[in-house]
C-alpha cells in the first residue's frame, strides 16, 4: 500500500499475485482499486489516442503535400486539390484574440468586485446569475449573435470605419456585419463566466491577514488589491484566463453562425473570417466525395488539437515560472 493514505490504512495483508489469495473484503477493495486505476489510465490516454487517430486519418494529405505549403498557403480549393490552412489558422487566432481582449478586463474587474468589494449578500445574489450564463448552450449564444450583435455591427461599422478607418484594423469594407468582431464579442460573453468563477475563487483564497496588514499600513482598498492581493493570486488568475482561452479557441457553433465563413486572411476586425472549427463543421457533409478532403478536414481537427495542447503547455510553463519566482 504505497499511497499516502497508508498512514491510516491498515496494512494487514501482503501484495498477492492472484485474486484467490485475497478473499473477502480486502479482495474486493483490491479489485475495485485495479478497475478504477484502469479506467483512469484509459481516460488519461484519451488525448494521445485522439491525436494518434486524427494523425492516421490525415496522413494521406500530409504525405501528398509539404507541411510548409499546408500551413502557410492561403489557397483553399478542395476541388483543385489546394489545401492551405493559413486563412483558417489566422481566422481562429483573430477571433480568439478579439474575444480575449474584450473579455479579460471586465471579467477580472467583476471577479475583484465580487471577491473584495461586494458584501456577502450581493455576492450571493450575483453568483447564481453568472453560473446561469455559463450554462447557456453555445448555439443559443449563436442565435443571440445573429439577432443582436450582427445587426448592431452592420449598423455601426460604417461610422466607425469612417472615423478610425485610417487604421487598417478598423477598415470597414464588409457590409454584412458577419465579422471577426461579431465572433469575438459572442465568444467574449461565453468566456465571462469561466474567467470570473475561477478568478474570484483564487482571489478569495488569498489569506485575509495580508489584506489586513496592507490596510493597517494605510493603503486604500484598491492599492491593497493591486499591490498585495493580485500579485499573490497571479498564478491562479493566469490559469483562469487560460481556461477561458481554451474554451474560446475551440468553440464551434456560436462562432460559425456569426463570423461570416470566408476563407481569406482577415485584415480588419470588420472582415469576415473562417476559423478552423467552423471549417470542419461546415464541410463534413461533402468531405467523403472529394479526394483528400476528409484527410484535410481531420488534419484541421489535428491542428486545432495541437494548438490547444501547445497553449496549455505554454501556460503551464509560465505558471511554473511564476510560482517558482515567488
Amino acid at each position: 500500500m504505497e499511497n499516502a493514505l497508508g498512514s491510516v490504512q491498515p496494512k494487514h495483508w501482503k501484495r498477492p499475485w492472484s485474486l484467490s489469495l485475497r478473499p473477502g473484503r480486502p479482495g474486493q477493495d483490491w479489485l475495485a482499486g485495479r478497475v478504477a486505476a484502469l479506467l483512469t489510465l484509459a481516460t488519461v490516454l484519451l488525448v494521445p489516442l485522439i491525436a494518434l487517430a486524427l494523425l492516421l486519418r490525415s496522413l494521406p494529405i500530409l504525405e501528398a503535400r509539404p507541411l510548409g505549403e499546408l500551413l502557410f498557403s492561403s489557397t483553399w480549393h478542395p476541388l483543385k486539390g489546394a489545401f492551405g490552412y493559413f486563412p483558417f489558422i489566422t481566422g481562429t487566432l483573430w477571433v480568439t484574440g478579439v474575444a480575449m481582449g474584450v473579455a479579460v478586463p471586465p471579467s477580472l474587474l467583476t471577479a475583484i468586485y465580487l471577491a473584495e468589494y461586494a458584501s456577502a449578500r450581493t455576492r450571493a445574489l450575483i453568483k447564481p446569475f453568472i453560473d446561469l450564463l455559463a450554462g447557456i448552450p453555445s448555439v443559443v449564444y449563436g442565435v443571440w449573435g445573429v439577432l443582436m450583435i450582427v445587426p448592431l455591427i452592420q449598423k455601426t461599422a460604417p461610422s466607425i470605419g469612417a472615423w478610425l478607418g485610417f487604421i487598417p484594423l478598423f477598415r470597414a469594407d464588409n457590409p454584412t456585419g458577419y465579422s471577426v468582431l461579431a465572433g469575438g464579442l459572442v465568444l467574449a460573453v461565453m468566456v465571462f463566466p469561466i474567467i470570473i468563477a475561477v478568478a474570484e475563487e483564487v482571489i478569495r483564497a488569498v489569506p485575509q491577514g495580508l489584506r489586513e496588514a496592507s490596510l493597517a499600513l494605510g493603503a486604500t482598498r484598491w492599492q491593497t488589491v493591486t499591490r498585495v492581493v493580485l500579485p499573490r493570486a497571479r498564478p491562479g488568475v493566469i490559469a483562469a484566463v487560460v481556461l477561458g482561452f481554451s474554451r474560446a479557441f475551440g468553440e464551434t457553433m456560436a462562432v460559425l453562425m456569426v463570423v461570416g465563413n470566408v476563407a481569406r486572411v482577415p485584415g480588419s476586425i470588420f472582415d469576415a473570417a473562417y476559423p478552423l472549427p467552423a471549417l470542419i463543421a461546415n464541410n463534413y457533409g461533402e468531405m467523403m466525395s472529394v479526394p483528400l478532403y476528409d484527410a484535410a478536414l481531420l488534419g484541421a481537427a489535428l491542428i486545432l488539437l495541437l494548438m490547444v495542447l501547445a497553449f496549455n503547455m505554454i501556460s503551464r510553463l509560465v505558471l511554473m515560472r511564476v510560482t517558482r519566482a515567488e
Binding site: 448552450p137 448555439v139 484598491w222
Partner: protein, 282 residues
Amino acid sequence: MKKCRVVECFFRVLMIGSTALVLGSLILILGTVVWRGLSALNLAMLTQTPKGGYYLGKEGGILNAIVGSLYLAGGATLLALTISLPIALYLNLYAARSRRGELARLALDVLWGVPSIVYGAFGFTLMVWLGVRASLLGGIIALALLELPIMIRGMDEAIAMIPVALKEASYALGATRLETALKVVVRQTTPALLTAVLLAFGRGIGDAAAVLFTAGYTDRLPDSLFGPAASLPLAVFFQLGTPFPAVQERAYASALVLTVIVLALSLISRRLAGRLNKHVVR
C-alpha cells in the same frame, strides 16, 4: 490623499460597471431568445415531428429533436457517470497525494480543454474504422467523452473537500477503502456529485459540434441505438440556415426550448442539492 480617493472611486465605478455589463449581457441573451422565440412557439412545435415540407415552412414540430437530445444527453451522462465516479473516488482515496494522481489530474485538465469539435472528429474516425454509420450510439459516445472531464473535475473537487477525520473514522472502524468510498464518501458528497452530473448533462444537451458528425439527423423519433438521432442544437442550426423567415422563426423557438430545458435543469439541481443532504455529516 485626495488623489487616492479619486483612483479608488474610479476603479469602484469601473468594477460595478463590469459586473453590470456581465449581468446585462445575460439579460440581453435571455431577453432576445425569449422575445423572439415565444412568438413562434406553439403546441404543435412541441408535440409533432416534422411533416413533409417542414423546412419550407409547412406544418410540423421539433419533437424529434427534443426526444433525440434527451436520449443523447441522457445516455451520455449515464455512460460518463459510470466512468467518472470510479475515477474521482480513485483519485481521492486510492491515489491520494501520489505522483500518479497528480499526473492523472494534469491529463484530465488537458482533456477539459479539448474542443468539442475534436471529440466529434475523433468519434467520426472511430466510426469509420468500425464501419458504423451516424447513430444514436455514436452520438452518445462522443458526448460522453465531452462530458467526462467536466464531470470528473466537479466530482473530484467535491470529494477533495471531505474532512480527513471522516475518512479516518471510517478506516479506524476497519472499513476498506472501497467501503469507505461507497458508504461514507459518496453519501457525504451526494448533493455535490449530483450538481456535477447535471452540469455535465447541461453541457452535453447544449453541444452541437460533437453530435454533428456522430449522431446525424433524422425527422423521425429515434427508435434504435444504431439509427440516427436528431438533436435540439442541430435543429436550431439547420432551421436558421434555411432562407425562409418562417423556418428561421422556428429556429428561435427551438433555441428557446433548449434554453428552458437547460435553465430548468440548473434550477432543479439547486433544489435537489438542498434536499439530498440528509446523509451529510456536518
